[in-house]
């Protein structure tokens, strides 16, 4: 039986969250593996949150923000890009699989793109298996 990964998603309210909304309106199909958390800006996502999610057993973490130049706060996503690049390296150096973390720029018009990303990421995580830091089958059970 293939397992359903547990993905924690941080979505910026101006772009990726709107994109997720649009995916719903478009009736786009994607796996029910992601739990979205709305944040004001992807620049608000502290690397601490991502570490915390992994430590608590999340199989994957997705951070979604606006494309470059589109940030509602002008530079939020540039800072996110720098942070997440360094964070990925930190995860790897700490002995954790960096591929469990993913950063995507999805605008409010890209509903299908959102569905595609979640589907892709879910498949990738299914191949990787559950987060090694927790027992169980990926449902927290």
């Amino acid at each position: 039986m293939s397992f359903t990964p547990n993905i924690v998603g941080f979505a910026c309210q101006w772009c990726t969250y709107a994109g997720a909304d649009l995916a719903g309106n478009l009736r786009a199909k994607y796996p029910p593996s992601i739990k979205l958390i709305k944040v004001p800006c992807s620049g608000r996502v502290e690397p601490e949150y991502i570490m915390e999610a992994f430590a608590n057993g999340a199989d994957g973490v997705l951070v979604g923000g606006c494309h470059f130049g589109d940030c509602h706060y002008k530079t939020g996503n540039y800072k996110t890009a720098n942070r997440m690049k360094i964070l990925s390296q930190l995860l790897e150096d700490s002995g954790f699989e960096r591929n469990r973390f993913r950063l995507e720029w999805i605008s409010g018009a890209e509903g299908y793109r959102f569905a595609e990303v979640v589907e892709e990421f879910t498949k990738e995580l299914q191949e990787m298996g559950p987060n090694p830091l927790k027992g169980g089958n990926g449902h927290g059970r």
């Binding site: 690397p47 540039y78 800072k79 942070r83 930190l90 700490s94």
Partner: protein, 330 residues
Amino acid sequence: MADKVKTAFLLAGGCAGCEMSVVDLSEALVDALEHLEIVFWAPTVADVKYKDLEDMPDKSIDLAFVDGMIRNSENLHTVKVLRQKSKVLVAFGACATLGGIAAMGDLHTKEELFSQAYKTSFSTDNPDGVYPTPEYLLDGKYNLTIPTFLDNCSTIDQVVDVEYYVGGCPPHPSFVGKLVGAILSGNLPPAGSWLTGGKAVCDVCKRNPAITGQERLPVGEIKRTIDGQPDQEKCLLQQGYMCFGPVTQGDCGGSCLNVNIPCRGCGGPIPGIKDFGARCVSMLAASMANDEAAAQFIEKYNNMAKLVYRYSHTASKLNHRIAEKKENAA
């Protein structure tokens, strides 16, 4: 008339540097001893054995300090005993609160650590490759034991309840002085708090752009401490030297900055930070001008985990869990 405060110091898996910092109080410590009764401080000051500690009645010690992390079975046992005997337990110094330098050993397997320490290091002469074992039978009749090396490090609060935390590697003597005063006057925050001024290193740093009137600009070029000589007056971060001052408690008075060395975070996280290294990443990345700077940072500092978790590896929940799983996987 109140009795003297019964005080204990326990050295767990540390280097005793924190105790030296207390001894550095010199005359001030002698004055404080009018109010303090040292019931246990082995081996630095008092000749009291572990057995004597075990024989003390429960909750008979008013104030206990632990310096050092939990590294072996002896640390684990004595810290648990001390917790039972004391009313207030203070995790004292970077190791006890965050894991300290030795906690970076958790990034390696036990085998790697032993091989480095007992086989491959330059000054070691061990042709038979003998490792220490927890038990050894000498001459076929003397059963000798040493503490068992645990699979991973722990901070004190990962093992027992801790009332107060004091950061620093070691805590600065002047701060320890203030601390002893605050403890004796009973002027303490709620249990579970850090005993700290609560200000960042930048707040006490003489190079702070806010004080010197420099304009704060995004950092374009990343440097290591070996790259050239930093300007003595200018903010190190502004010069490209990665400094953790903005997220570290400044009870040290900016000691490292005063001698042209960037802060590495021994003072512990400023209030509100759960994961020191992750917040360092956040702070450093936000000060970088562009993605080339971020790429240069990753390239120049070859192990991010050992950089940002220099003193706080074990205190990070993720790291601690990875370390717990590591030996099972190896």
